[in-house]
């Protein structure tokens, strides 16, 4: 049997990799992908805990999370498209309107 802790460790590693990805990448799109990685890592963690506790509520939660992630990806990409149309660039370093 695989101890749930192992899954949790994997989830932690994946999450941190997602964080690193967020900082390494320079365009909005790939940074968004990094966010998706982090979401999935979270899902994995929830499932691991759900298995450890024996209740199935974690699975229901994960379903909802995936659904919401889908909706969020849709809107997020729509926004990125709009930004691209406006600025002709999706490099985050160029989007400095909040400066000062």
């Amino acid at each position: 049997m695989i101890p749930p802790a192992a899954f949790f460790v994997l989830a932690a590693v994946l999450f941190v990799l997602g964080v690193i990805a967020f900082f390494v990448k320079k365009d909005l799109l790939t940074q968004f992908m990094a966010v998706e990685i982090m979401l999935n890592a979270g899902n994995l963690a929830v499932l691991a805990l759900s298995k450890a506790s024996g209740k199935a509520d974690g699975q229901a939660l994960v379903l909802f999370v995936i659904t919401v992630a889908a909706a969020e990806a849709v809107i997020g990409l729509a926004i990125i498209v709009l930004v691209f149309r406006q600025r002709k660039s999706i490099r985050t370093d160029d989007l400095k309107d909040l400066k000062g």
Binding site: F22, D93, L98
Partner: protein, 632 residues
Amino acid sequence: MAELFWLIPIIPGASALLLLIFGRRFSRAWVALQASAAVLISLLLSTAAFLRLAQSGHGAPALAKELLAWISSGSFSTAISFRLDELSAVMALVVTGVGFLIHVYSAGYMAGDKGHPRYFAFLNLFTFFMLVLVMASDIVLMFVGWEGVGLCSYLLIGFWFDRPAASKAGLKAFIVTRVGDAGFIIGILFLLTTVGSADIAAINAAPGAGLLSPALVTLIAVLLFVGATGKSAQIPLYVWLPDAMEGPTPVSALIHAATMVTAGVYMVCRLSGLYAASVTASSVVAWVGAVTAVFAATLALVQNDIKRVLAYSTISQIGYMFIGCGVGAYAAGMFHLVTHAFFKSLLFLAAGSVIHALGGEQDMRRMGGLRKKLPVTFPVFLIGALAISGVPFLSGFFSKDAILTSAFAGRHYALYVLGLAGAVLTAFYMFRLIYRTFYGQERSSLAPGQHVHEPPRTMTIPLVILAAFSALAGFIGLPVFFGERANVFGRFLEGVLGRGPHGLAPSTETVLVLAATLSALLGIGLAFVFYRKSPQIPSSLARRFPGLYRLLLGKYHVDEAYEAVIVRPLVRGAEWTYQHFDLKVVDGVLNGSASAAGLAGKGLNVLQSGLLRDYALAFLLGAILFLGFLLI
């Protein structure tokens, strides 16, 4: 009517307030009228109160009224309350009486001045403060009046503020009296902490009640007297009074002759309980007075400005008043205060009349032969001069004699001799002034077309009234020679001030009176010789004793000494402090904190790069910290 006595200070005060705010909108006639009427009302109220007290006779309770609670701090509390007893009544009459006459005189004298409403406002304000000083029932309120008259003195000396000499003189007066006031304040503090109350009656009873050790009584009395030397222009703080002559002449008459400068004498008499309990303090008072009397008289010998002669004369005469107080004859001191108020203000106002007639000339070297041209001014001036010289039967004779006799009776023979010497000098310099101004050939230089003329009626009538008082006021204080009951004045004040030294045999008294008369006549005679018969004597003397002459003319170089020893080091110290502390530390802290804030802002600005990744970093950091917090 006497119950309304507490209005005595209030009415001039209200008038002052009105004139300060609205004065410029009133007509000149109204301003003068309102100001004078306010003082007149106070005069009438003072008279009513005085009559009430006179009627009730000895041991009458004073008129007292508390107006409003003022300070209440810990165990110390005091209220604004007035108390009018015989002593205060006398002072109130002097202040309002002479004050009223001077207000009327000023209406004529200041008629063309552009600061007319301001002048009367300040004059009323001064009257208010002086009356507060005189009627205060506790020493703190008295000090408020004390400071207030000092303020008004500053305002009025520097009244013509566009004249640099005038504003400097005003500043000098204020600062020098401030030095004295420091002593006064320390004295008050000692009183508050030892007696525990500011009430004057309590303070006067304190030595007897054992609340104050003898050393403490002496200390406090001397400290308060330091304040008096400032306000009353005695040694060492007299230097401001001659300079104060820059102010308008009526101001010199009222403030620097009759009232404010006598506040010190009043204070000593008011707190006679303290001074009577300390022989040391009383000696200090008497000796300072005596030395000042002679010292100032010597300086009056060589002055050429008519007002300066009168200024030094005032300093000298106040010295006499302090001699009286110092030997325990407080009533005699007050008697001289009253007579001096009459004849000195008369002399100042008459001098003002002369100056006015000559178109502003104050130097006696350019006067002369005015006797026939000023038929009203000359006689009244002469009466004033005779009174101050102590010629018999005029007021000054009786009051000066009262002081000298008391000194002799108290066996202060040295003081007596000094007083007598001063009397000779007084008569001499006064008649020097008379001869120089009114006799001899005309040396004045008036523009063609201007001729010497008497001033208008508003100015001459007060002169006449004051002359009458100067001549006759002496009779209220006849010496014991004429019987025990003859000293009406002394008996009136006995309840408050007690009796001075007495008990001389009538023969001794007669001798003393004769000595006083002789000294006056000696002085007048010498003046006649020097300035009328052989006018070359003064200049030849000046040539033979040039050093002495220069010393006197230079006022013993006291001003220069003060300047070098005190003023300049202080100014340098202040400059140094300004450079090193004010600019560097204070401004440094202020500017420093401002620039620190700016730097902090600029530093923090780095965080707001606008870059998403930086904000994400912050996010991450926050998450880590939060998680750490949960884990710990």
